[in-house]
Amino acid sequence: MAQKRVFAIIVLLIGAAIGYFVYHSEVTASWPFKLGLDLSGGTQLVYRADINAIQSSDVAESMSALRDTIERRVNLFGVSEPLVQTEQASALSGTSEQRLIVELPGVTDTQKAIALIGETPVLEFRMLKSVTPPDTFSTTTVNQDFAPAAITGKDLASAELQFQGSASISEPVVVLHFTSEGKRVFADLTKNNVGRYFGIFLDGQPISIPVIRESIPDGTAVISGGFTATGAKELARNLNYGALPVPIDLISTQTVSGTLGEKAVQDGIMAGLWGIGAVALFMLFWYRLPGLLATIALTLYIVVMLALFKSIPVTLTAAGIAAFILSVGMAVDANVLIFERIKEELRGGKSTADSISDGFARAWPSIRDSNISSMITAVILFWLGTSLIKGFALVFGLGVLVSMLTAISVSRTFLFALGVDAKYGFTRFLFGSGISRT
């Protein structure tokens, strides 16, 4: 008994410590809650990467270069905590799209965000398939006329503006410097294809089609496409921030204003408090003393969940908050099962201690099975879901796991630690439930 009480006190102390962590980190903002775009306000853009013009073995590398470049570009504009990630469309969409997802918290002007990313140039070097270049190009035949891109934006290290030609008719050109990898590829390419043409593509358009006169081992190339001085300067600057290895086009946007998000957070917090209050009141009135213990276990459940949200961190969305509030209602489910069972055992004439331990043992299989079925739902939702549903599924799944811990082990510890005998009188009333006296 003494041991059980010490253990119960330790559990309470740990709970209090976690509660303090949640409170302290909130006041000092050291571990803030991570809010999704629908709560913080911001813009999400989804792009499709056009990988037709590159070799399939280069796809993974190009996508990561694409992500890095866009990330650099986004950071340049001072967006706080942007998230840039790549995603492969699942087989379910019927296509095998490569996608780029850009999340910009705090940016609520969708068109501005699109323009911001749209300034990033796409750079490709593609060998001409025929020996001499055709007179004109149309966008539809580009992929037939040119081989897949040999060198792309990912091979570019830096770019600079230079003037070529004599002083009187000097022409502005952009000189590209490749990375060591790009240098090697370009050297091989030029060595093996002397006399042939290749196209330098910017944003999918061939802007110059020079002939290869000799091998170029030093890793530089020159774009001379009849630029104006300002045009060339701008291009060099943009290329220096990074060039995209593949063209991208916008397929989906989502923008939520900050005010709407803020209101959702406030409403969510209010709903959470009232929801917890309603459940706690019900448990206290219906299950009396065990109900009080269940409420303490529920409080522990809540602080543990909040601490997990902060420390993992879990990106909270409106759907996630809904899942959390829903899980508060479900977290007492195990307690209800156990208490109903304990009551039955008590009615059967067993001692209080035996009733409690038998009640727990008997209730366990159904708690286990029902929670497994909830976990199945959570896992499938998480696996298949969009970011919105993932937010729901993660909180829901976490809630099921944590509530198993708090509802079972914590309330069990407390019930034993109390060590009351519910055989007679008032304690019997305390262990009763509902509107009956016993």
């Binding site: 946007t253 509030i325 199945i376 739902t377 919105l388």
Partner: protein, 302 residues
């Protein structure tokens, strides 16, 4: 025992409810939201009074919006659904909606491309199928040791029947809600339905589990008892628990519906209806069906 004795009355009630829900779906239809079809959704609110819908419709026509529908939201806002828009419309969005006397604020803009829509639609269907399948397998597994007098597969199948009921009822309700408020089927609706499935099966398992336990006790004590008797007994024992756990969840959902974030209101309402249906089915449908199957088998044997 009341429920078991009068099971035919409850079968009739359940049948009527399911029929009403199916009629609702057939009459009002389930309208897929832009998440599944692709398109644009704009939510605006105005500083002052919102403009007249006819005037706004003309403005939107002029601005080149196609196949759009306007719906009033809140006290001073509109929700616009339209086909995918271009850069010019997107750039001018707030200006297009603003009129002399009221500045529009774009609260929310969502654009979904057609491939993403198709992908989400397929994912949603697959998720629904997978959840049903996994739950069937899980129940058959969990009840594998119970083979007398009814095989564990029957428990799984009956659980599945109650789940179908639990999906049809909120769907019918949602079709009606769509007729009233223009609510459309989105990923949150699918999430709500899947959550209802998880919760309802949870309830059904608890009742079945009690039957499983009582059958074992009878077997151990060599007690001969009619299956209907055992099942009815088990139902009585778990009745309070079923109601109470649903009550706590319903409390939180009511709170979520009345004071929660506006984006999850319809979600909370769908869950409310679904979980009520789920609790109903696990009490008034699952075990009575079990008894019905057992009686039929007995008759067939004789």
């Amino acid at each position: 025992m009341f429920i078991i004795t009068h099971r035919n009355a409850f079968f009739a009630l359940t049948g009527a409810l399911v029929l009403a829900a199916l009629i609702s779906v057939a009459v009002f239809g389930l309208h897929l939201g832009i998440e599944f079809t692709g398109g644009t959704l704009v939510e605006v609110s105005y500083d002052g009074v919102r403009p007249d819908p006819v005037a706004l419709t003309n403005t939107l026509d002029d601005a080149g919006f196609k196949d759009f529908s306007l719906r009033e939201t809140g006290a001073n806002g509109y929700a616009l659904r339209a086909q995918n828009i271009g850069d010019t419309q997107r750039g001018e969005l707030a200006a297009i909606f603003s009129y002399q006397g009221g500045t529009a604020h774009i609260d929310q803009l969502t654009e979904i491309g057609p491939t993403i829509g198709a992908e989400l639609r397929n994912k949603a269907i697959l998720a629904l199928g997978l959840v049903l399948l996994c739950i069937l397998l899980f129940i058959a597994f969990a009840f594998r040791k119970v083979s007398k007098p009814i095989s564990s597969w029957v428990y799984g199948l009956i659980a599945l029947v109650t789940l179908v009921h639990d999906v049809i009822i909120p769907m019918g309700f949602f079709a009606f809600l769509g007729y009233l408020t223009g609510a459309q089927v989105d990923t949150l609706f699918v999430t709500a339905v899947l959550t209802v499935l998880g919760f309802s099966i949870h309830d059904t398992i608890v009742v079945f589990d009690r039957t499983r336990e009582n059958l074992r006790i009878n077997h151990e004590k060599n007690r001969k008892e009619d299956f209907a008797e055992t099942a009815g007994h088990s139902l009585n024992q778990t009745f309070v628990r079923s109601i109470n756990t649903s009550l706590t969840v319903l409390f939180t959902l009511l709170v979520l519906y009345f004071i929660g974030p506006s984006s999850t209101k319809v979600f909370a309402l769908t869950l409310l209806v679904g979980i009520t249906a789920g609790t109903y089915s696990s009490i008034f449908l699952a075990t009575p069906l079990l008894v019905w199957v057992e009686k039929r088998r007995n008759k067939a044997k004789k």
